[in-house]
Symmetry: C2
Subunit: 192 residues, 2 copies
Protein backbone atom coordinates (compact mmCIF):
# COMPACT_ATOMS: atom_id res chain seq x y z
CA UNK A 1 0.00 0.00 0.00
CA UNK A 2 1.43 3.36 -1.04
CA UNK A 3 0.59 5.86 1.74
CA UNK A 4 0.79 8.78 -0.66
CA UNK A 5 -1.98 7.36 -2.82
CA UNK A 6 -4.19 6.19 0.06
CA UNK A 7 -6.89 7.93 2.09
CA UNK A 8 -8.56 6.81 5.31
CA UNK A 9 -12.21 7.87 5.53
CA UNK A 10 -13.76 8.16 8.97
CA UNK A 11 -17.49 8.25 8.39
CA UNK A 12 -20.25 9.56 10.68
CA UNK A 13 -18.42 9.06 13.98
CA UNK A 14 -20.64 11.74 15.50
CA UNK A 15 -22.36 11.96 18.85
CA UNK A 16 -25.86 11.42 17.44
CA UNK A 17 -24.81 8.03 16.05
CA UNK A 18 -22.79 7.00 19.11
CA UNK A 19 -24.94 8.08 22.05
CA UNK A 20 -27.36 5.43 23.34
CA UNK A 21 -30.03 8.06 24.02
CA UNK A 22 -30.10 9.25 20.40
CA UNK A 23 -32.77 7.97 17.99
CA UNK A 24 -29.95 7.46 15.48
CA UNK A 25 -27.80 5.35 17.84
CA UNK A 26 -25.89 2.53 16.13
CA UNK A 27 -25.63 -0.25 18.71
CA UNK A 28 -22.28 -1.54 17.48
CA UNK A 29 -20.76 1.94 17.35
CA UNK A 30 -19.21 2.47 20.79
CA UNK A 31 -17.21 -0.75 20.55
CA UNK A 32 -15.23 0.45 17.51
CA UNK A 33 -14.07 3.81 18.85
CA UNK A 34 -10.64 2.50 19.87
CA UNK A 35 -10.08 0.58 16.64
CA UNK A 36 -11.03 3.61 14.53
CA UNK A 37 -8.62 5.60 16.68
CA UNK A 38 -5.95 2.98 15.95
CA UNK A 39 -6.64 3.34 12.20
CA UNK A 40 -6.47 7.13 12.50
CA UNK A 41 -3.15 7.08 14.36
CA UNK A 42 -1.75 4.57 11.86
CA UNK A 43 -2.75 6.84 8.98
CA UNK A 44 -1.14 9.85 10.64
CA UNK A 45 2.04 7.89 11.37
CA UNK A 46 2.36 6.71 7.76
CA UNK A 47 1.39 9.94 6.05
CA UNK A 48 -1.94 8.62 4.73
CA UNK A 49 -4.50 11.33 3.93
CA UNK A 50 -7.35 11.37 6.45
CA UNK A 51 -10.84 12.53 5.54
CA UNK A 52 -13.39 13.03 8.29
CA UNK A 53 -16.81 12.61 6.68
CA UNK A 54 -19.68 13.99 8.72
CA UNK A 55 -23.41 14.11 8.18
CA UNK A 56 -24.70 17.65 8.68
CA UNK A 57 -28.18 19.05 8.13
CA UNK A 58 -29.64 22.54 7.90
CA UNK A 59 -31.84 23.56 10.87
CA UNK A 60 -35.05 23.43 8.85
CA UNK A 61 -34.28 19.94 7.58
CA UNK A 62 -34.74 20.71 3.89
CA UNK A 63 -31.70 18.51 3.22
CA UNK A 64 -32.72 15.50 5.34
CA UNK A 65 -33.33 12.17 3.59
CA UNK A 66 -37.02 11.93 2.76
CA UNK A 67 -37.18 8.69 4.77
CA UNK A 68 -36.19 10.61 7.92
CA UNK A 69 -38.29 13.71 7.41
CA UNK A 70 -40.81 12.72 10.06
CA UNK A 71 -38.16 11.79 12.61
CA UNK A 72 -36.38 15.09 12.00
CA UNK A 73 -39.59 17.00 12.72
CA UNK A 74 -40.39 14.94 15.82
CA UNK A 75 -36.90 15.42 17.24
CA UNK A 76 -36.72 19.09 16.35
CA UNK A 77 -33.60 18.40 14.29
CA UNK A 78 -31.01 15.67 13.72
CA UNK A 79 -27.30 16.24 13.18
CA UNK A 80 -27.86 19.95 12.68
CA UNK A 81 -24.55 21.68 11.98
CA UNK A 82 -23.28 23.44 15.08
CA UNK A 83 -25.32 21.42 17.57
CA UNK A 84 -23.67 18.95 20.00
CA UNK A 85 -25.22 15.92 18.30
CA UNK A 86 -23.46 16.74 15.03
CA UNK A 87 -20.00 16.90 16.61
CA UNK A 88 -17.46 14.23 15.85
CA UNK A 89 -16.53 12.37 19.03
CA UNK A 90 -13.54 13.79 20.89
CA UNK A 91 -11.47 10.59 20.48
CA UNK A 92 -11.27 11.19 16.73
CA UNK A 93 -10.72 14.93 16.44
CA UNK A 94 -8.93 15.94 13.22
CA UNK A 95 -5.29 16.90 13.07
CA UNK A 96 -4.49 20.14 11.27
CA UNK A 97 -3.73 18.41 7.95
CA UNK A 98 -6.89 16.31 7.89
CA UNK A 99 -9.72 17.04 5.49
CA UNK A 100 -13.36 17.41 6.51
CA UNK A 101 -16.25 16.69 4.14
CA UNK A 102 -19.87 17.12 5.14
CA UNK A 103 -22.66 15.18 3.48
CA UNK A 104 -26.43 14.84 3.66
CA UNK A 105 -26.92 11.32 2.33
CA UNK A 106 -25.58 7.79 2.86
CA UNK A 107 -22.73 7.94 0.37
CA UNK A 108 -19.82 10.25 1.15
CA UNK A 109 -19.64 10.92 -2.59
CA UNK A 110 -23.27 11.97 -3.04
CA UNK A 111 -23.46 15.73 -3.72
CA UNK A 112 -20.08 16.38 -2.08
CA UNK A 113 -16.64 17.39 -3.35
CA UNK A 114 -14.97 14.24 -2.00
CA UNK A 115 -14.14 12.85 -5.45
CA UNK A 116 -12.65 16.18 -6.54
CA UNK A 117 -10.42 16.35 -3.47
CA UNK A 118 -9.21 12.77 -3.90
CA UNK A 119 -8.47 13.30 -7.61
CA UNK A 120 -6.46 16.43 -6.84
CA UNK A 121 -4.40 14.42 -4.36
CA UNK A 122 -4.01 11.52 -6.84
CA UNK A 123 -5.48 9.14 -4.27
CA UNK A 124 -6.12 5.68 -5.68
CA UNK A 125 -6.95 3.59 -2.62
CA UNK A 126 -9.68 4.23 -0.04
CA UNK A 127 -9.89 2.69 3.41
CA UNK A 128 -13.32 3.02 5.02
CA UNK A 129 -14.16 3.17 8.72
CA UNK A 130 -17.08 4.39 10.81
CA UNK A 131 -20.83 3.78 10.99
CA UNK A 132 -23.01 2.23 9.94
CA UNK A 133 -21.96 -0.61 7.69
CA UNK A 134 -25.21 -1.35 5.79
CA UNK A 135 -25.93 2.29 5.02
CA UNK A 136 -23.16 4.88 4.79
CA UNK A 137 -20.20 2.50 4.65
CA UNK A 138 -21.76 0.33 1.95
CA UNK A 139 -23.12 3.23 -0.13
CA UNK A 140 -19.71 4.91 0.00
CA UNK A 141 -17.93 1.66 -0.89
CA UNK A 142 -20.21 1.08 -3.88
CA UNK A 143 -19.62 4.60 -5.19
CA UNK A 144 -15.89 4.25 -4.55
CA UNK A 145 -15.69 1.07 -6.64
CA UNK A 146 -17.84 2.67 -9.35
CA UNK A 147 -15.37 5.57 -9.45
CA UNK A 148 -12.46 3.11 -9.78
CA UNK A 149 -10.93 3.50 -6.34
CA UNK A 150 -9.36 0.37 -4.87
CA UNK A 151 -11.61 0.00 -1.85
CA UNK A 152 -10.97 -1.53 1.56
CA UNK A 153 -13.50 -1.77 4.39
CA UNK A 154 -12.10 -2.18 7.90
CA UNK A 155 -14.06 -5.02 9.49
CA UNK A 156 -13.28 -4.07 13.10
CA UNK A 157 -13.51 -0.30 12.58
CA UNK A 158 -17.01 -0.32 11.08
CA UNK A 159 -20.21 -1.21 12.92
CA UNK A 160 -23.88 -2.10 12.53
CA UNK A 161 -26.93 -2.52 14.76
CA UNK A 162 -26.21 -6.25 15.23
CA UNK A 163 -23.27 -8.63 14.61
CA UNK A 164 -25.45 -10.50 12.09
CA UNK A 165 -26.03 -7.38 9.98
CA UNK A 166 -22.31 -6.57 10.19
CA UNK A 167 -21.33 -10.07 9.03
CA UNK A 168 -23.88 -10.22 6.20
CA UNK A 169 -22.81 -6.84 4.84
CA UNK A 170 -19.10 -7.66 4.97
CA UNK A 171 -19.86 -10.93 3.17
CA UNK A 172 -21.87 -9.12 0.46
CA UNK A 173 -19.10 -6.58 -0.06
CA UNK A 174 -16.44 -9.29 -0.26
CA UNK A 175 -18.49 -10.97 -3.00
CA UNK A 176 -18.62 -7.64 -4.83
CA UNK A 177 -14.84 -7.50 -4.92
CA UNK A 178 -14.43 -5.03 -2.08
CA UNK A 179 -11.49 -5.88 0.17
CA UNK A 180 -12.23 -6.41 3.86
CA UNK A 181 -9.33 -6.09 6.32
CA UNK A 182 -8.73 -5.54 10.01
CA UNK A 183 -7.13 -2.40 11.37
CA UNK A 184 -4.04 -4.45 12.28
CA UNK A 185 -3.73 -5.63 8.69
CA UNK A 186 -4.12 -2.03 7.49
CA UNK A 187 -1.38 -0.88 9.87
CA UNK A 188 0.93 -3.71 8.79
CA UNK A 189 0.39 -2.90 5.12
CA UNK A 190 1.69 0.59 5.95
CA UNK A 191 4.82 -0.94 7.47
CA UNK A 192 3.80 -0.10 11.04
CA UNK B 1 -50.07 4.94 -6.21
CA UNK B 2 -50.43 7.39 -9.09
CA UNK B 3 -49.47 5.52 -12.30
CA UNK B 4 -48.55 8.76 -14.05
CA UNK B 5 -45.91 9.56 -11.46
CA UNK B 6 -44.56 6.01 -11.15
CA UNK B 7 -41.88 4.09 -13.05
CA UNK B 8 -41.09 0.38 -13.00
CA UNK B 9 -37.38 -0.35 -13.43
CA UNK B 10 -36.39 -3.76 -14.79
CA UNK B 11 -32.71 -4.11 -14.00
CA UNK B 12 -30.12 -6.41 -15.62
CA UNK B 13 -32.54 -9.13 -16.75
CA UNK B 14 -30.01 -10.13 -19.41
CA UNK B 15 -28.85 -13.51 -20.61
CA UNK B 16 -25.41 -13.28 -18.99
CA UNK B 17 -27.04 -12.93 -15.57
CA UNK B 18 -29.72 -15.56 -16.15
CA UNK B 19 -27.87 -18.38 -17.92
CA UNK B 20 -26.44 -21.05 -15.61
CA UNK B 21 -23.35 -21.43 -17.80
CA UNK B 22 -22.41 -17.74 -17.47
CA UNK B 23 -19.77 -16.65 -14.93
CA UNK B 24 -22.18 -13.86 -13.96
CA UNK B 25 -25.13 -16.20 -13.33
CA UNK B 26 -27.38 -15.15 -10.43
CA UNK B 27 -28.72 -18.39 -8.95
CA UNK B 28 -32.04 -16.89 -7.88
CA UNK B 29 -32.63 -15.20 -11.22
CA UNK B 30 -34.53 -17.76 -13.30
CA UNK B 31 -37.19 -18.16 -10.62
CA UNK B 32 -38.28 -14.50 -10.86
CA UNK B 33 -38.79 -14.27 -14.62
CA UNK B 34 -42.54 -14.82 -14.40
CA UNK B 35 -43.02 -12.41 -11.50
CA UNK B 36 -41.03 -9.69 -13.28
CA UNK B 37 -43.20 -10.36 -16.32
CA UNK B 38 -46.27 -9.94 -14.10
CA UNK B 39 -44.92 -6.61 -12.85
CA UNK B 40 -44.19 -5.53 -16.43
CA UNK B 41 -47.67 -6.41 -17.66
CA UNK B 42 -49.21 -4.66 -14.66
CA UNK B 43 -47.24 -1.52 -15.42
CA UNK B 44 -48.28 -1.60 -19.07
CA UNK B 45 -51.95 -2.15 -18.11
CA UNK B 46 -51.95 0.79 -15.69
CA UNK B 47 -49.94 3.22 -17.80
CA UNK B 48 -46.87 3.14 -15.53
CA UNK B 49 -43.61 4.18 -17.24
CA UNK B 50 -41.31 1.20 -17.78
CA UNK B 51 -37.54 1.57 -17.90
CA UNK B 52 -35.41 -1.38 -19.00
CA UNK B 53 -32.01 -0.90 -17.42
CA UNK B 54 -29.25 -2.97 -18.98
CA UNK B 55 -25.57 -3.36 -18.25
CA UNK B 56 -23.56 -2.93 -21.43
CA UNK B 57 -19.80 -2.79 -21.91
CA UNK B 58 -17.51 -1.75 -24.74
CA UNK B 59 -15.65 -4.62 -26.43
CA UNK B 60 -12.26 -3.64 -25.01
CA UNK B 61 -13.66 -3.48 -21.49
CA UNK B 62 -12.43 0.02 -20.67
CA UNK B 63 -15.76 0.62 -18.93
CA UNK B 64 -15.89 -2.59 -16.86
CA UNK B 65 -15.83 -2.29 -13.06
CA UNK B 66 -12.22 -2.52 -11.91
CA UNK B 67 -13.20 -5.48 -9.72
CA UNK B 68 -14.18 -7.44 -12.84
CA UNK B 69 -11.32 -6.43 -15.11
CA UNK B 70 -9.60 -9.81 -14.81
CA UNK B 71 -12.80 -11.77 -15.40
CA UNK B 72 -13.58 -9.65 -18.45
CA UNK B 73 -10.16 -10.45 -19.93
CA UNK B 74 -10.42 -14.16 -19.13
CA UNK B 75 -13.86 -14.42 -20.69
CA UNK B 76 -12.98 -12.29 -23.70
CA UNK B 77 -15.80 -9.91 -22.81
CA UNK B 78 -18.84 -9.70 -20.53
CA UNK B 79 -22.17 -8.10 -21.45
CA UNK B 80 -20.63 -6.52 -24.53
CA UNK B 81 -23.24 -4.48 -26.40
CA UNK B 82 -24.55 -6.38 -29.40
CA UNK B 83 -23.50 -9.84 -28.20
CA UNK B 84 -26.07 -12.49 -27.18
CA UNK B 85 -25.08 -12.36 -23.50
CA UNK B 86 -26.01 -8.69 -23.28
CA UNK B 87 -29.53 -9.22 -24.63
CA UNK B 88 -32.49 -8.81 -22.34
CA UNK B 89 -34.36 -12.11 -22.04
CA UNK B 90 -37.17 -12.58 -24.54
CA UNK B 91 -39.87 -12.80 -21.84
CA UNK B 92 -39.30 -9.14 -20.96
CA UNK B 93 -38.87 -7.47 -24.33
CA UNK B 94 -39.78 -3.76 -24.29
CA UNK B 95 -43.01 -2.40 -25.72
CA UNK B 96 -42.67 0.54 -28.07
CA UNK B 97 -43.28 3.13 -25.35
CA UNK B 98 -40.77 1.70 -22.89
CA UNK B 99 -37.49 3.44 -22.15
CA UNK B 100 -34.10 1.75 -22.27
CA UNK B 101 -31.13 2.94 -20.22
CA UNK B 102 -27.71 1.30 -20.40
CA UNK B 103 -25.26 1.46 -17.53
CA UNK B 104 -21.76 0.27 -16.65
CA UNK B 105 -21.95 0.14 -12.88
CA UNK B 106 -24.19 -1.24 -10.11
CA UNK B 107 -26.47 1.78 -9.76
CA UNK B 108 -28.81 2.58 -12.63
CA UNK B 109 -28.20 6.25 -11.81
CA UNK B 110 -24.40 6.12 -12.00
CA UNK B 111 -23.17 7.99 -15.11
CA UNK B 112 -26.52 7.55 -16.90
CA UNK B 113 -29.34 9.89 -17.89
CA UNK B 114 -31.93 7.99 -15.84
CA UNK B 115 -32.51 10.85 -13.40
CA UNK B 116 -32.93 13.35 -16.23
CA UNK B 117 -35.53 11.16 -17.94
CA UNK B 118 -37.49 10.62 -14.74
CA UNK B 119 -37.46 14.34 -13.91
CA UNK B 120 -38.74 15.20 -17.37
CA UNK B 121 -41.60 12.77 -16.84
CA UNK B 122 -42.29 14.11 -13.34
CA UNK B 123 -41.89 10.62 -11.92
CA UNK B 124 -41.90 10.56 -8.13
CA UNK B 125 -42.13 6.86 -7.28
CA UNK B 126 -39.77 4.07 -8.40
CA UNK B 127 -40.52 0.37 -8.32
CA UNK B 128 -37.42 -1.83 -8.64
CA UNK B 129 -37.20 -5.33 -10.09
CA UNK B 130 -34.45 -7.54 -11.51
CA UNK B 131 -31.04 -8.83 -10.42
CA UNK B 132 -29.17 -8.92 -8.24
CA UNK B 133 -30.50 -7.61 -4.97
CA UNK B 134 -27.26 -6.95 -3.01
CA UNK B 135 -25.55 -5.16 -5.89
CA UNK B 136 -27.52 -3.38 -8.61
CA UNK B 137 -30.90 -3.34 -6.89
CA UNK B 138 -29.51 -2.03 -3.63
CA UNK B 139 -27.16 0.52 -5.23
CA UNK B 140 -30.03 1.81 -7.36
CA UNK B 141 -32.38 1.94 -4.37
CA UNK B 142 -29.85 3.90 -2.30
CA UNK B 143 -29.34 6.44 -5.07
CA UNK B 144 -33.10 6.66 -5.64
CA UNK B 145 -33.72 7.52 -1.98
CA UNK B 146 -30.83 9.98 -2.02
CA UNK B 147 -32.46 11.67 -5.01
CA UNK B 148 -35.80 11.86 -3.13
CA UNK B 149 -37.73 9.23 -5.09
CA UNK B 150 -40.23 7.20 -3.08
CA UNK B 151 -38.67 3.79 -3.54
CA UNK B 152 -40.21 0.33 -3.59
CA UNK B 153 -38.33 -2.94 -4.05
CA UNK B 154 -40.34 -5.91 -5.28
CA UNK B 155 -39.44 -8.82 -2.98
CA UNK B 156 -40.53 -11.58 -5.38
CA UNK B 157 -39.30 -9.86 -8.55
CA UNK B 158 -35.71 -9.37 -7.36
CA UNK B 159 -33.18 -12.12 -6.73
CA UNK B 160 -29.83 -12.98 -5.17
CA UNK B 161 -27.39 -15.89 -5.14
CA UNK B 162 -29.08 -17.41 -2.06
CA UNK B 163 -32.36 -16.95 -0.16
CA UNK B 164 -30.33 -15.84 2.88
CA UNK B 165 -28.66 -13.00 0.96
CA UNK B 166 -32.04 -11.99 -0.47
CA UNK B 167 -33.66 -11.89 2.99
CA UNK B 168 -30.78 -10.02 4.64
CA UNK B 169 -30.76 -7.37 1.93
CA UNK B 170 -34.52 -6.86 2.01
CA UNK B 171 -34.30 -6.52 5.79
CA UNK B 172 -31.50 -3.93 5.54
CA UNK B 173 -33.44 -1.92 2.97
CA UNK B 174 -36.60 -2.01 5.07
CA UNK B 175 -34.60 -0.61 7.98
CA UNK B 176 -33.36 2.17 5.70
CA UNK B 177 -36.94 3.25 4.97
CA UNK B 178 -37.18 1.59 1.58
CA UNK B 179 -40.55 -0.01 0.99
CA UNK B 180 -40.60 -3.75 0.16
CA UNK B 181 -43.70 -5.14 -1.57
CA UNK B 182 -44.73 -8.17 -3.60
CA UNK B 183 -45.72 -7.91 -7.25
CA UNK B 184 -49.33 -8.70 -6.26
CA UNK B 185 -49.31 -5.76 -3.85
CA UNK B 186 -47.86 -3.54 -6.58
CA UNK B 187 -50.60 -4.63 -9.01
CA UNK B 188 -53.31 -4.06 -6.42
CA UNK B 189 -52.01 -0.59 -5.63
CA UNK B 190 -52.52 0.17 -9.33
CA UNK B 191 -56.14 -0.93 -9.08
CA UNK B 192 -55.52 -4.16 -11.02
Amino acid sequence: MNPERTALLIIDMQRDFLSPASPLFVAGGPSIVLTVQHALESAWAAGVTVVHVRRNHRPGGIDIDSTRRQLFAEEGGLLVAGTPGAEEISELMPASGDLIVTKTRWSAFFATDLDLLLRRLAIHELVLSGVQTPNCIRATAMDAVSLDYATIVLSDATASQTPEIQAANLADMTTMGISVKTVSQFARSLGL
